[in-house]
Amino acid sequence: MLAARPTLLALLGIITACEPDDRAAICASAGPVHLLAPADSYVDVLARPAAGRTVFVLEHADGPVDTWSGLDCGAAPTLAVRGARALPAAAQLDERDDDPHTTCIDGHFFHLTLRDAQPPTIVLPDHTCGRLTPTPSGPVVVGGDVIGADQLWLLPQFPAPDGGVQIAARANRFEVQGEMLYYLDDDRGLHAHDLASGNDTLLRASVDMFQTTATHLLWQERVDGDVRPIRLIDLASGAEIDLGVFDPEVDGSFIDGRGGLTTPWLFTIPGAHVLHFPRAWAVDGEAFDLDGRRLALPLPGSPLDLLDGGAVVGVRPGDDRLFAVRPGDAEATLLDAVVAPPSNDDPAPLRIDADGVNLYLDGDLLDVPLDGGPARLLAAQVGEKRVWLDDRRLLTIFEGTLLTVDGATGRRTAHAGHVADFARLDDGALYYLVDQPGDPAHGLWYVPADAPLPAL
């Protein structure tokens, strides 16, 4: 019988606590299951489901990583690769369909036996895995190792090379939208390549850069070094609109105080507008709708990130006050949060989620409304590692204890001690690492998505 309480299950942990036959029972367990009791100390866990297996990358305290592979729900994990991160190569549109036997290490594809740490063997030796991009027709894979340009291949029977089609001999950049692949060739030609039919169309020549959404393509023409018009193409009709001109004086050398955004012309999320963030502080931003109409975009400071709803969040110089602005706003809204812009030396405690701004300061988690209202304490004394389980319960590690915090009541429930890290999958399954060598609970634990986390 699989016990529900960690303390009892820990007694099962020797090297691999569960036999393969236990798989179904583990997946249906009513509580935490001790999957792995390693001799070593692991402090970081990454989990990926793939084709009925679960692959774990476990990191030691002093840096090295090992890759373990378990059956469904992580059952019966075995060491797959010692000393390397070997997650399944992300070749399928749904990562759960990825083949766990094909991985990417150091930019090369490898085949793994997933048994007994057998040596990984190189596959697809003429291709690299760094920019592997899944599409409905199969993954697009970069071939060769060309300075400044790559071969592009479509491999419908990945990881087998059979039926592979070379799309481009020299491509500098590419994006995929459904079955359409857009790429820049070595002569600045912008191509649209239909992956299903193989039709390849030269859309424009003399192209500096481009971005795509499902419906539109934004591109910059290089007329000469100083004149670079910015244009927007409606992909359905082919109609093109001039939006402006890339001005090296205003837009050049964009990598400066403008925060985390590194290009001056870009789409909002999910692509309803085009934004222009000039480099020069004295120049306000501007925005355009998809018909080319110009809209105001007042920028009192440096933009940091884009939110899903189309808003821009930034920080005002001088007082480090956060602001939010949407295309068409007459003025930016100052938010109830002050935070230094992130930098390599001092990463700010700011987490900008897709739909809002959370601020993590001194162990407290705050919600900062985009309408400028007062910031609200979501949870006090939580860890940097945290995830919302639902609208009110936050799972976190605080001072080594895995706990949930009820955001409405502040009630805290401890679930396990000496916890170093956890990974929660999209389906709600939870894996957590207890780091206490010598203790029966030491190692990797699994909690099914619908199983309650018992209190200590």
Binding site: E59, H60, D62, G63, P64, V65, D66, V81, R82, G83, A84, R85, I105, D106, G107, H108, F110, P119, P120, T121, I122, V123, P125, D126, H127, T128, G143, G144, D145, V146, I147, Q151
Partner: protein, 467 residues
């Protein structure tokens, strides 16, 4: 007499032939260049590694790296399906004993098992270990944990690489600095401990002090105390008595970069004799100093640029006014070198021979200059950026894009090949990279046997790829 270093290929060839090559394969004794790998080079770079079982080549066409494995002298190379930048894994004291099926990918620094037939793709082995800085010793090879994820703390000794069952952990806290003196391995740990491990017995002892960096001779230890990353005391310890002498301060701002590119040693270091400690701060407005083994400062030119340290203890120093002197730590006099060097002019590296140096001046004039006085000797004209001695009279050089043999007594010059981008001398001969710029006409790696160097053959009359 040629320098021991530059004459090494021929000396090795002799040793090799005495041991195993009484009848070298005919391919290795052809007197004409032969193309080994055909491709259009993208870099002026390639690597070649002869082993007892074959030759591993890595070349760089535009589409990336390609590895080949051929027989002796590169004969009949087969392309290895890998996409890796392969070099033999250096785990044996004699490179010719290295297992040619164990390779090191220079891009990732991981070990691979390769199939010399090219039929199967390489296997990643011991991925938790790093291959590029393995240190062969008589007791086995020292291998570090792979840098991926910061695994720098692991140091293992493999008596029978890659058999892990017999490997011993030397340290789990290795800080990255080691030196070996016979069976004693000196190494630092991140905790600041300086450990000495007897590689034969496994016994370990910790030396006193918290040590950030060190150098060791048979009698003394030069060490930097681990107190502050910016400024730290330098001390000299008599290993017999354990007594430490304070020498001065290491300033990271001044001492992190070399004073001159020709002497890339750390700012504080032992001289080649081990009898003195020299300090070359990077900035030219800070004085150079020298110390004897009692820790006392001794005479040495304070100002100028060190150009080369000779094994006999002499140091060539360019003084402020441009004169080059032969300084010796502890001696107040520093006689001028017998040739004039323009310190502002580019000149190729000076070769120290022990009592003399070789250097190229002007438009490729190769001189040998005695350091104890005496007239410099012009050895050859038209000497290029790379050279090696075949014997006492014959020099092979890559001069511009011409590979040539120079008969130094007469100055006669024999062209061996043209349109050469790079060369790699080996005991069997020289491999060179040819680039014509004419859509691949003979482009690629070529091999020219050492037997072709002497007597210089007339190679290029009517040959297709000589010009």
């Amino acid at each position: 007499m040629p320098s021991p270093r530059v004459a090494l290929p021929l000396a090795l060839a002799g040793t090799l032939c005495a041991a195993a090559c009484a009848e070298p394969p005919p391919f290795c004794t052809r007197t004409r260049p032969v193309q080994v790998v055909a491709f259009t080079p993208y870099y002026a770079d390639f690597s070649v590694a002869p082993t007892a079982a074959g030759t591993l080549l890595t070349v760089y066409p535009r589409d990336g790296a390609e590895g080949y494995f051929g027989r002796a002298c590169g004969e009949d190379p087969l392309r290895l399906p890998s996409g890796l930048r392969l070099a033999p894994a250096r785990v044996e004291l004699d490179p010719r004993d290295d297992d040619p099926t164990l390779a090191c990918d220079l891009a990732s620094s991981r070990f691979y098992r390769i199939d010399p037939t090219g039929e199967t793709t390489p296997q990643l082995v011991l991925p938790h270990l790093q291959c590029h800085d393995a240190v062969p010793t008589p007791r086995g090879v020292l291998v570090r944990g792979h840098r991926s994820g910061g695994a720098v703390g692991l140091l293992l000794l493999f008596p029978d690489f890659p058999d892990e069952s017999t490997a011993r952990t030397v340290s789990r806290d290795f800080a990255g600095r080691l030196e070996r003196r016979d069976d004693d391995l000196y190494y630092t740990e991140r905790s600041g401990a300086l450990q000495v491990r007897d590689l034969a017995t496994g016994a370990r002892r910790r030396l006193p002090g918290r040590v950030a960096d060190f150098a060791v001779t048979a009698t003394h230890l030069l060490w930097r105390e681990q107190v502050d990353a910016d400024v730290a005391p330098m001390r000299l310890r008599d290993l017999a008595t354990g007594a430490d002498r304070y020498l001065g301060l290491h300033h990271v701002d001044a001492d992190a970069s070399p004073r001159h590119w020709q002497v890339p040693a750390p700012a504080w270091h032992f001289d080649p004799t081990g009898e003195f400690v020299l300090h070359y701060p990077g900035p030219l407005d800070q004085p150079m100093t020298a110390y004897d083994l009692s820790g006392a400062q001794v005479p040495f030119p304070a100002w100028g640029l060190p150009l080369v340290e000779d094994p006999d203890g002499a140091v060539l120093v360019t003084l402020d006014g441009g004169a080059v002197v032969v300084a010796r730590p502890g001696r107040a006099d520093a006689p001028p070198l017998a040739v004039a060097l323009d310190p502002n002019a580019f000149f190729s590296p000076i070769t120290a021979l022990g009592g003399a140096v070789e250097l190229v001046l002007g438009e490729g004039d190769l001189y040998r200059v005695p350091l104890a006085g005496g007239a410099p000797k012009l050895l050859a004209r038209g000497v290029g950026s790379q050279r090696f001695w075949v014997d006492e009279r014959h020099l092979v050089t890559l001069d511009g894009d011409e590979l040539a043999t120079i008969h130094t007594p007469t100055g006669s010059r024999t062209q061996l090949a043209r349109r050469v981008m790079a060369m790699r001398p080996t005991p069997d001969g020289v491999y060179y990279l040819r680039y014509s710029g004419e859509a691949g006409r003979g482009d690629g790696v070529w091999f020219l046997s050492a037997t072709a160097f002497i007597p210089p053959p007339i190679l290029c009359h009517g040959e297709e790829f000589c010009d």
